[in-house]
Amino acid sequence: MTPAPALSVEGLSVEFRTRSGAVRALENVSFRVAKGETVALVGESGSGKSVTAYAVMGILDPAGRVTAGRAMLGDLDLLAATPKELANVRGRKIAMIFQNPRTALNPIRPVGRQIADVLICHGNVSRRAAPAQAVEMLRAVGITDPARRAKAYPFEMSGGMCQRVMIAIALAAKPTLLIADEPTTGLDVTTQAVIMDLINDLAKELGMATIFITHDLALAGQRSARIVVMHAGHVVENAPTADLFANPRHPYTAELIAATPDSAASLDELAAIAGSLPDLRRADLPPCRYSERCPRKIAACAQPLPLAAPDAAHFVACWNPLPAQVVVAPTVSAA
C-alpha cells in the first residue's frame, strides 16, 4: 500500500437519533484509499455504505451524528473540520456522485448552469467564462451537441445523460477523490457499463482515487482493486479484490460470493444468505453483528471483535474465519 493514502477513515462511528431510540448505524469503520486507487464498499442495503460516504462528505442527515473516528484527507480531519475548511474541500478535493441521477439534479435549473455554479464556486473559472467551460465539461463526459444540451433541464434528458451531467458536476473542480454512490442504480444495463467505463477513464486521466459504493459484488470485482465488505455498520472484511474472491475469510463474504449469480452454475446453486440485518436499535446487539446469522458461530464470538492495523493487507473481523489459503492465480481481473 502507498504510504500516503488519499483518504484514511479510522474508527468511524455514526449514530442516528430516532423516535424509537438511537440507531448505531456505523461502528468502528476503518479503511484506506490509496492515491489513484479504486476501492469498493460492498454490502446489502442498510449496511452503512452510503452513511460512511455521507459522514466523510459532511452531509449526514441532521438526525445523524459522528460519535467517534477520524477521516483524514491529507492532513485534514474531515470529521473535525470547521465549516469553512469543509467548504474548501467539498467539491474541490472530494466530490460525490449519487444514485438516481434524475432526482439528484436541480429540476428547474438548466444543467449547464448547474455545472457553471460549481465551476464559479470553486474559483477556477470566472463568472463570464463559466458557461463555455460548462459546455466543455459536458463534451468531456461524452454528451453530444453539448452547447445545446447545456440549456436543457434534467427532465428533458435520459437517466444516462443525467448521470453524465452529475459526473461533470463532480469532476468540475478536478478532485483528488471521487465517491460514487451506486452510480448506475436506476440506469439500464447497457448504460450502466458505459457510465462505469466513463468514471474509470476519467479517474485514470485525472489520477483520482475512487470509492465505489455498490451492493453488486460482481460489479465491484470488475471495477476495483480493493473491496471493503460491510455488514450492519461494521467492516467485516477488507482485502485486495483478487484475494477476496479467491480466498474469502469472513463467513459473510463467502456467502455473498456464493450468492452472486456469476459464480453459480444454475439457479439451484445460487445461495441465499439466511436471516436479515439485525435491528440496530437493539441494546443487546452482539459484538459481531453477523453472529446471529452465522453458520460458523463459536463461543469466542461473544468477545469484542478483533481489531486490525488499518494497513493490514487482508483484514477480517472474525474470531472463526475461513482458513487462509495459498492464493492461486485470480480469474477476476482488477480494474
Binding site: 462528505m57 452531509i59 449519487f98 439528484a104 436541480n106 464556486c121 445545446r148 444540451r149 436543457a152
Partner: protein, 354 residues
Amino acid sequence: MGGPDRPGHDDHNERREMLTMIVKRLAMAIPSLIGVVVVTFLLTRALPGDPAVYFAGPAATPQAIQQVRVNLGLDKPLIEQFGRYVVDLAHGNLGTSLTTGQPVATELRNRLPASAELTLLGLIVSIVIAVPLGIVAATKPNSLIDQACRVISTAGVSLPVFFTGLILVYVFYYLLGWAPAPLGRLDVFYTEPPHVTGFYLIDSLIAGDPGTFMASLKQLILPALTLAIFSLAPITRMTRASMLAVLSSDFVRTARASGLSAYTVIITYAFRNAMLPVITTLGMVFSFLLGANVLVEKVFAWPGIGSYAVEALLASDFAPVQGFVLTMAVMYVMLNLLIDILYGLIDPRVRLEA
C-alpha cells in the same frame, strides 16, 4: 436514450411556450366567468327581502309598490330579467345602485383602489415577514426562530380579523394614541392626492406631497397589519414545510456535496424550488384577504368595495352586490392566471404541460 428527448430550447421557444400557456389559461377562464354571471344573478334574486317594498318606503300603498316593481323591471319573468342583465353587462353597465342612485360601475371603480391598496399592502407586509421566517425556521429546525414560527402559525389562524383589528385599534389608537382614528383612508385635514392610480401612497408621491403620503400611510398601517397578521400564519407554515421538504431532497444533497455556498444552496437551489407551493398559498391567501377585507373595512370605516357590498346587501340592493361578486370573480380569475404565469416562469415543466 428513452423517452421524449427535447434538448435545450432557446429563448424564443421559451417565450412562445409562455404565450401559448397564457392564451390557453385565458380561454379556460371564460366558462367560469359565464358560470359566475349566472350564479350571481340567481343568488341575488334568491335573497330574502323585496327591493320594491324596501324602496317604495314604509308608508307606500300596494299600488305604489307595484309601480316601483314595474319601474325596476322586477315584474318581468326571471329569464327576461337575466337577458337584460347580460345585455347591460356587455355594454359595461353594471346597473344603478338603488340606495345611492350612482352607477355601480363608477362606484366600484372609485372604491376598488382603496381595497386593493389595503389588501396588497397587507399581503406585502405579510410576505416580507413570513417568507424569511419560514426559510430560517426550516434551515434551523427546533431553534428559537422555529419555535416563534410555530407560535405565529397557531396564533395567526386562531385570531379572527375583526378581533385583531379591534385589538389594534384599542391599543394603538385608544390606549397609546400612536395611530390616527380608524376613520377611512385620510385624515380630514388632508385632501386626497390627484387621481393617477387610485393608490394614495403612490399618487401622493407622484404629486410630490410627503405630508399626504405620511398621513395615508398612518391610516393604512393598522388595517394592513390586521390583514398581515391574518395571512402570516398560512404563508409562514407553507414556506417552512415546503423548504423542509426541498432541503431533504436529493438535489440539495448534491448541491451541498459539490461544495456550493450555503447561500446558493438555500436560496438559488432550495428556495426557488420551494417557491411553487408558496405561490399557490399566496394565491389562496390573497383570495381569503379579499373576503377578510369586508370585515376589516367595516372596522376601519375604509371606503372600499367590501363595505360598499355589505351596505348594499343589507338594503337588498341587487346591482351593487352583483357587481361586487362579479368584480371579485374576475379578480380571482386574473389572480389564478398570474399564478400560472409565475409557475411557468419558475418551473420549465409547467410550460410544457400547457
